[in-house]
Symmetry: C2
Subunit: 120 residues, 2 copies
């Protein structure tokens, strides 16, 4: 993967926020700095950054959101404000239980806790 100003910009936009943005939001931010950037380029680079393991993607309702935090972690999703909050909880026991009870070799766990955040 060779250098491109567009990709660097897109990556920095994701790293500079904790808000798990959508492709469209990233596109808008990117256009502020680089007005001629195209939405196709944004999508292509998001996919590429994900393939390289530099960002992660989350499936949220009908859109994909992107997350610059590549450490294993989970999410709290507030039903009132829609906020998605990173949360770090140990899942070793869970993993072992599944491994044993279902003869399923766990690779990765994705948990979302739906509910009401402390702001409400």
């Amino acid at each position: 993967m060779r250098y491109s100003a567009q990709r660097e910009l897109i990556h920095s936009i994701i790293m500079d926020t904790i808000s798990h943005p959508t492709a469209d939001w990233i596109y808008d931010r990117a256009r502020e700095k680089m007005p001629k950037i195209s939405l196709g380029t944004v999508y292509r680079n998001l996919k590429q950054l994900e393939d390289e393991g530099m960002i992660r993607s989350l499936l949220e309702e009908n859109m994909t959101r992107y997350d610059g935090n590549i450490q294993p972690h989970h999410h709290l999703r507030c039903n009132i404000c829609g906020d998605l909050i990173d949360v770090d909880i140990p899942d070793t026991n869970l993993r072992k239980g599944i491994q044993k009870d279902y003869q399923f070799e766990v690779d990765e766990i994705e948990m979302v806790f739906f509910g009401t955040c402390s702001k409400h």
Copy 2:
């Protein structure tokens, strides 16, 4: 919600499989029994059945899958064959931990375990 043959058919198709089908798959099955049914009707009824709590929906990649199992449960997702398997694990401790550590009132938990199932 009043009776309709289409809705009954759609519901029975979902209840008769454990495969977490997509709208399109359900549409194909439904047309075998009722050739003139439309895809719009399938979508409308899926939404309605979900609103009534008779089925659940799962966000999988770019499509929605439907699940006739409305008991709280989680999923194993095999990276090789793509199968989605129901799994029942207690999450009470997890729930309490989140409640306490993040002042977040948990309503519902969704867990997906990615990995390799016993067939491989």
